[in-house]
């Protein structure tokens, strides 16, 4: 048994619920746009239940909706999902256990669970934070997708400006990631590369080409002056 008072874990349950509610809004917009982009309710649900990494789901649907090929949609989304491999390495020391346990934990290795896990101070609290956040996000994400997907088939997304839900969501997702000068420059360069190559490349490919900008990360970060 954990000998610290149970009230101490309230600072895990509260933020986990808040994060769940935040992704709920993303999930509803995902469901709506996924269905209107030629998906179906089962496809939207399969994406959220199985893929379960928000930005990549949005990315794939966005490329398909614009008329891109399946290959470019999946490739771009997987490049975006590669960060989950880094997250797995970062949280692995606290999610030790039998193979089935780790295989199950892998499905929930995403931005929010990693952030919550690493924010705790003891191994027990890190493990608890991982699973509580995973449960909260997984439930909200899938319920939100279902609501959006069911509503989406009866909504004129253009009329209500819902096509902008995706770029607005991307703006919110990228904001915490571009705090350093280097990340800001990489983001700007990615934007420029995308626009500059759009007229010349098949739909979806500019996103993949833009991701190559991240290769500047091979060089060690310059020392701040």
């Amino acid at each position: 048994m954990n000998d610290s008072p149970s009230t101490n874990n309230r600072d895990i349950y509260g933020p986990a619920l808040a994060l769940g509610f935040a992704v709920f809004v993303f999930a509803i917009s995902f469901g709506v746009v996924c269905v209107s982009a030629g998906g179906s309710v089962p496809k939207a649900m399969a994406m959220s239940l199985l893929v379960f990494t928000g930005a990549s789901q949005f990315s794939a649907v966005s490329v398909i909706a614009a008329g891109g090929t399946a290959a470019s949609a999946v490739t771009g989304a997987l490049i975006l999902a590669s960060r989950n491999a880094i997250y797995g390495v970062a949280i692995a020391p606290w999610l030790t256990g039998r193979l089935p346990y780790r295989l199950a934990a892998a499905q929930f290795t995403i931005d929010e669970t990693t952030g919550m896990t690493l924010a705790q101070d003891t191994p027990q609290r890190r493990r608890l934070a991982f699973w509580v956040t995973a449960a909260s996000i997984y439930v909200f994400w899938n319920v939100g997708t279902l609501i959006g997907a069911l509503a989406g088939s009866s909504i004129d997304t253009q009329k209500y400006g819902l096509d902008v839900a995706f770029p607005a969501a991307f703006v919110a997702m990228v904001a915490p990631l571009v705090r350093s000068h280097r990340a800001k420059r990489v983001g700007f360069a990615g934007a420029v590369v995308c626009l500059a190559t759009t007229p010349f490349l098949p739909i979806g490919l500019p996103i993949i080409v833009a991701s190559l900008v991240a290769l500047v990360g091979m060089r060690p970060e310059p020392v701040a002056r």
Binding site: V61, A81, I86, I91, T198, P199, G217
Partner: protein, 100 residues
């Protein structure tokens, strides 16, 4: 959207998650790759914002979406709650479309 996309993405995304947590585990990830992968979301998300705001197929366009996404940038900058950012961006875009 085909089932191939759904299944391909499901398998690929799971393998990437398991690669970190299960395969590499608490062994060390080469720092060069870590630097690159850490910068990928900034590059890709900014590219996606541009694509979803200023492109229509292979064409570059400026239309009502710019109003909505600009409002999203201001909203996120001012730390407006997320749901309000998304609702306001969609409403602004719908409004511009309705009057133009």
């Amino acid at each position: 959207m085909s089932w191939a996309v759904v299944i391909g993405l499901s398998v690929g995304a799971y393998l990437l998650k398991a690669l970190g947590l299960v395969v590499i585990g608490d062994r060390k990830f080469p720092p060069r790759y870590e630097g690159v992968i850490a910068l990928v979301p900034a590059a890709v998300l900014c590219a996606l914002i541009m694509k979803d705001t200023f492109t229509n197929g292979q064409e570059l366009v400026i239309d009502a979406r710019m109003a909505g996404v600009s409002l999203a940038v201001v909203g996120v900058w001012c730390r407006v709650p997320l749901w309000l950012v998304i609702v306001a961006s969609c409403a602004a875009t719908a409004l511009v479309r309705a009057v133009s």
